[in-house]
Each structure stands twice: as structure tokens, then as C-alpha cells.
């Protein structure tokens, strides 16, 4: 059933891999002893590993192909939903699951160490960032590679306002969000006519411009050395210990996340959300049906930026220090990967994506230097086997009774 030819191909792949990884995996130079360690056993691991992976991959694709052709022949057959999608569509399961997640989230700091709680807070921040970018990329289909710029706007607005005017976290929170949204509109205007790759390049440039301005305009942003001693979020003027404020920030993030999920969910299932998706699907048809392209795109940009701004403020308050190095392109790329990996336009998908992308490298630390390699490998495998993301977007189902219109 598995042809010999394929085995030969896999063997070739394995040989290639061995050759490619030879300098990295086999040769080890010891500069002190001035000798070269030849780690031949690594070569076998690489050979066997890549051979097995290649065979498994080929078998998988062969099966998938078969299934596809079977589906094509058997027409009118219901398209099989994944378990996830079926669960998501069923409110009976959805509620208990969400409640269980919430209970776990609330109990988390008591079950795990402060360090873990801190890591979790970061992960939650990325979930919200992902959900914000999801509005722009997943729903409206505008590939934005400069999302981190809005995050920086939020962080710096808190850092600067706190530094110069002693404004508190809660005062700046809406200011940061609104400023970022404003920047979203500023970016939105020039790129309205662009799509796809062109849009991606311009937004990438925009993100870099913001970072470079922050880095070089010393009088304004204190340059690369950044701004330190930013206040942590206040709680009715109480003096919180470090541990307590970590806890406080954690619960704050849970609260923000719940609000974000609520808002994004409602936006998605509204007149505006539908217009975004339609814009993503076909711009010309969209306009011909009476949708104002300019307005709809600008709203998507500014709403997405708003969440980044809010989280930027939280970031500044959490680390009590900001400098331009936190807002590099890599950050935008990670947030974008969260959206793409999780599944464009799907809230649950983005949440899963963020947890995987942020927590995985954290827990892969055990693999020490191979951690980033493993991380990259997992990403590549994901894109090969599930290009639509972990959990693909499910469209809303409306129920109609015969001769009686309306939602059930």
C-alpha cells in the first residue's frame, strides 16, 4: 500500500537532512581543549528522525488525498465538522466549558507559583492582543504587520503621562486606548487603497517608523534607555506588595479578557462584523451592495488598535519600564502568528493560539537551546497540516420554522 518509491524519496530526504545539519549537529568545536568532538550518534538520530517524519507525513497526505477524492465523488454528503466546531456550536456544552475555564483561571494563582502567574498574565495579554488584531486581520482581512506600533503608543502614553504628570493607571487606560485608535485611523487613511502584500509592507513600515521615532527622539521618549519607575496599577490608593500587585494584574487581565471576548463576540455577530467579513471576501461586491469601504476599514483599524493601546498601558504598568526594544517587528510577527495559528476570525482559536505560542516556549525551556527550534518546527507542522488554523471560524446558524420567519 505504501510504494517503495516513496520510501526511496524519504531516504533521500533523510540524507539531505543529515548533510544539512552536519555542521550543526555533528561537529562540535571545543575552543579550550582545541579539539573537535565528532558526535556521530547525533547523525543517526537526525537520519532516523527525518526519515520517520517524512514517511509519516507522506502517509498522512496520501490519506488526506484519498479522503478528499472520496468526498468529491460522494456529492451532497454533509461536510464533516471537527469535534471542536460541533462543541462550539452547541450552547449546552459551551457554557459549562467556559465556566470551568473561568473557575480554573480564578483558582490559578492559588494552585501555581507567582512566577507561573506572571507568565500567565503575559499570556493573557497576548490573548487580548490577538483578539484585537483578529478584528483587523481575521475579520476585515487587512494584513497588518505593524500592529506593535499601537501597542507601543499605549505603553508610551502611560509611561510618559505617568512620568511627567503623575497620571494614574486608570486615568491613562482609556487615554492610551483612544490614542492608539487615533493612530489606527492615521495609518488607515493612506493604506485604504492597498490590499494584501502592499498593505502588509506599508503597515510594516509604519510599525518601524513608530519604533525608530521612539528610539531617536530623545527629548520626547528618552531614546533607547527608555522610561523607568512607572507606577503599577493602583487599587483605591492601597499600597500593594510586589506579590499582591502581580496577583492584582493577573485578575485585571482576566477581567479585560472577559470584556474583550464579550465585545469582539458581539461585534462579530453584528451589522458591522458582517460588513468586515464581506469586505474581506470581496471588496467590489461589498461596495456595490452599499457598504462604505472607507468607513468600515477605518473602524476596523481603529478598533483593533484600541485593544493594542489598552494592553500597551497594562504592559507599561506590569514591567514598570518601557523602551523601544520591546516593540520590534518580532512582536508584531508573534501576534500575527497567534491569529493565524489559532484560526482567523475565530475567538476560541485565537485564545488557543496565544496560549500555545506564549506558553510553549516558556515550558520548552527544558529543551534549553533547542527550544526555539522546536517552536519553529511546531509552527511549520501546524501550517502544513492545518493551514486554516487550529479552530476555523464557524458561521452563525439561523433557525427558521416553516411559514414562520425569525430566529428561534
Amino acid at each position: 500500500m505504501f510504494p517503495l518509491k516513496e520510501f526511496k524519496k524519504s531516504l533521500l530526504v533523510a540524507l539531505w537532512f543529515v548533510a544539512l545539519t552536519f555542521p550543526l549537529m555533528v561537529i562540535q568545536v571545543d575552543p579550550i581543549e582545541r579539539i573537535v568532538n565528532w558526535r556521530w550518534n547525533n547523525m543517526f538520530f537526525v537520519a532516523i528522525g527525518s526519515f520517520v517524519l517524512s514517511v509519516v507525513g507522506k502517509a498522512f497526505f496520501a490519506r488526506k488525498e484519498q479522503q478528499l477524492s472520496k468526498k468529491r465523488t460522494a456529492q451532497n454528503e454533509e461536510v464533516q465538522d471537527t469535534i471542536f466546531q460541533r462543541v462550539l456550536r452547541e450552547p449546552r456544552y459551551l457554557w459549562p466549558i467556559s465556566l470551568a475555564c473561568l473557575a480554573f483561571a480564578i483558582a490559578f494563582p492559588f494552585l501555581f507559583s507567582t512566577y507561573q502567574t506572571n507568565v500567565m498574565t503575559t499570556a493573557l495579554m497576548y490573548v487580548v492582543l490577538g483578539l484585537g488584531l483578529n478584528i483587523v486581520v481575521g475579520l476585515a482581512g487587512l494584513l497588518d504587520l505593524g500592529y506593535v506600533a499601537f501597542y507601543a503608543v499605549g505603553a508610551y502614553s502611560y509611561a510618559l503621562l505617568n512620568h511627567h504628570f503623575d497620571l494614574g493607571f486608570w486615568t491613562v487606560l482609556p487615554v492610551g486606548g483612544i490614542l492608539a485608535a487615533f493612530f489606527g485611523i492615521i495609518l488607515g487613511f493612506p493604506v485604504l487603497r492597498l490590499r494584501g502584500d502592499y498593505l502588509a509592507i506599508v503597515t510594516l513600515g509604519f510599525g518601524e517608523i513608530i519604533r525608530l521615532v521612539l528610539e531617536n527622539w530623545n527629548e520626547f521618549s528618552m531614546g533607547p534607555s527608555g522610561i523607568a519607575n512607572i507606577d503599577r496599577p493602583g487599587l483605591f490608593g492601597l499600597d500593594l506588595s510586589l506579590n499582591m500587585s502581580i496577583l492584582y494584574l493577573y485578575y485585571l487581565m482576566i477581567f479585560f479578557l472577559i470584556i474583550t471576548i464579550f465585545v469582539v463576540n458581539r461585534l462579530q455577530d453584528s451589522r458591522l462584523g458582517r460588513a468586515w467579513v464581506a469586505l474581506r471576501e470581496d471588496e467590489i461586491a461589498c461596495q456595490a451592495m452599499g457598504i462604505d469601504k472607507t468607513k468600515t476599514k477605518l473602524v476596523a483599524f481603529s478598533l483593533g488598535a484600541f485593544w493594542a493601546g489598552i494592553i500597551g498601558v497594562v504592559f507599561a504598568a506590569k514591567t514598570t519600564f518601557v523602551n523601544p526594544a520591546s516593540f520590534t517587528f518580532l512582536e508584531s510577527a508573534i501576534i500575527l502568528s497567534i491569529v493565524v495559528l489559532g484560526g482567523m476570525g475565530s475567538i476560541v482559536g485565537v485564545i488557543c493560539g496565544a496560549f500555545i505560542l506564549i506558553l510553549l516556549p516558556e515550558y520548552l525551556r527544558a529543551l534549553s537551546e533547542f527550544r526555539m527550534l522546536a517552536f519553529g518546527g511546531i509552527l511549520v507542522l501546524m501550517m502544513v497540516f492545518r493551514p486554516e488554523g487550529l479552530i476555523s471560524n464557524v458561521r452563525r446558524v439561523y433557525q427558521f420554522k416553516k411559514n414562520d420567519r425569525g430566529e428561534k
Binding site: 461536510v79 465585545v263 458581539r266 461585534l267 453584528s270 451589522r271 458591522l272 462584523g273 458582517r274 460588513a275 467579513v277 464581506a278 471576501e281 470581496d282 467590489i284 461586491a285 461589498c286 461596495q287 456595490a288 451592495m289 452599499g290 457598504i291 462604505d292 469601504k293 473602524v299 478598533l303 471560524n393 458561521r395 452563525r396 446558524v397 439561523y398 427558521f400 420567519r405 425569525g406 430566529e407
Partner: protein, 261 residues
Amino acid sequence: MSEIILQVSDLTMNFGGIKALDTLDFEVCSGEIVALIGPNGAGKTTFFNCVTGIYTPSSGDVYLHKPGGEGRTRLNGMKPNHVAEKGMARTFQNIRLFPKMTVLENVMIGRHCRSKSFILGAIFRDKKTRAEERSIVDYSYALLEKVGLASQVNELAANLSYGAQRRLEIARALATEPFLLLLDEPAAGMNPQETAKLVKLIRRICDEGHAVLLIEHDMKLVMTLSDRIVVMDYGRKIAEGTPAEVRTNPEVIKAYLGEDD
């Protein structure tokens, strides 16, 4: 009584050296079905694009007049979404649905310009927004019943058959409440049964008070449906009249119908 609802005069559209439309003038009156025919590349689709704001015409005027309303609107240079708001909707020759949205959602998009709720309404979902959403759903469902797609409301648009997709496009256009409906080759790719159903549908749409301007290559359909036919060739109007007149017009036979001679 019928009044002119669409008036086009001296409409010209140049693409570089090509004159896709050349000083075209004609009008559409309320309550009639007009067919626009002509050989491939005559400029029919370009005409639709110019009138609906997708292209800005090089010169000439396009006026839209709402039946019973006062004044007329000049459409040149107007954005497509404003044209739709004014009451003219269209379908596309190469079907342009929103493939990853459901059939119902596709039609609901058509309701966009007749509804208002925005960010705050979406987030707080107040009484007014809920009522609006409900009316959007009801209106869209009623349209889907009319075009015979009520059993497939939750299907993705991409999964529909070709004929069904064409009907969905009509439903989506109707959702914008147009008084003038432009159909670009609605019967292309349909089998005879589907075409027969389509003829009935267009009749019904016309009876319900929408004027229809359609581009079509299916001569049987054109001859049975239309009150008036406009024939184009090389961007110019070469003939105009009732089906009987057009059929016997020597210009037309030369340019189009009598390809065999």
C-alpha cells in the same frame, strides 16, 4: 404612467486607446424590462460598471431619478455604495458572492445600506439594534423564499450550484431595495429548467415594481422577457426597439444575430 428613471447621455469610457463606450445614450423607464445585448466585448459590462460607480466614465452624464420622487441625481463619480443607496443595485457577470459567508448572511449584507446600527449598538445590543437585526433577518429570509433558496439559508455561498449562486446574487441585490435592478448575464451557465424559473422570477420582480435592465446572450430569454431591447456594438448603440423591431433590424442582424451570413 411611466417616467424615466435612468438617463444616460453621451456616455464615453476610454481604456487607454480603447473606446469601450462611445457616446452612448439611452434611458430606462419605471416598470419596464430592458435588455442590453451585443456581441462579446461590445462594452455592456463596462456600461454597468460606469453606471454603478465602479468605473468613473471619461465623459457623459448618468442621471438617476427615483420614481415618484422629485429631482434627479447625477451619478458620475459617485461611489458604488452611494449608488446602491440611491436605489440601483446590480449583479455581476463573474459571480461575486461572499463565498465564506452563509447564504442568509450574503443577503443580509444587502440590507446594510438600509440599516443603521454601529459600534455601540453592536456592543450593547439595545432594543433598537435587536429589532433592526430581526428585521434584517426576516427581510433576507423572505427574499430567499422568493428566489427559492429558503432551504439552504445556512449553507456557505461557495457550496451552492451555479444557478443557485446567480439567484442568490439577485436576492442580495434586491435586499438593497432598488427601484432599478441591473442583471449582468443572469442566465449564463443555467440549464433550461433553471432558465425557465429565472424568467418567472424576473417577471415577478418587475411586477413588484422594480425596473430591470439586463444583459443577456440567451436570445430566447431576451425576446420573451424584454419590453425593449438596446443593441450595442463596439461601444455604440446600433439599434433600439421592441423585440420584433430589433429582430428584423438589418444593422443588428449584421452585427449580432446573423453571425452565420
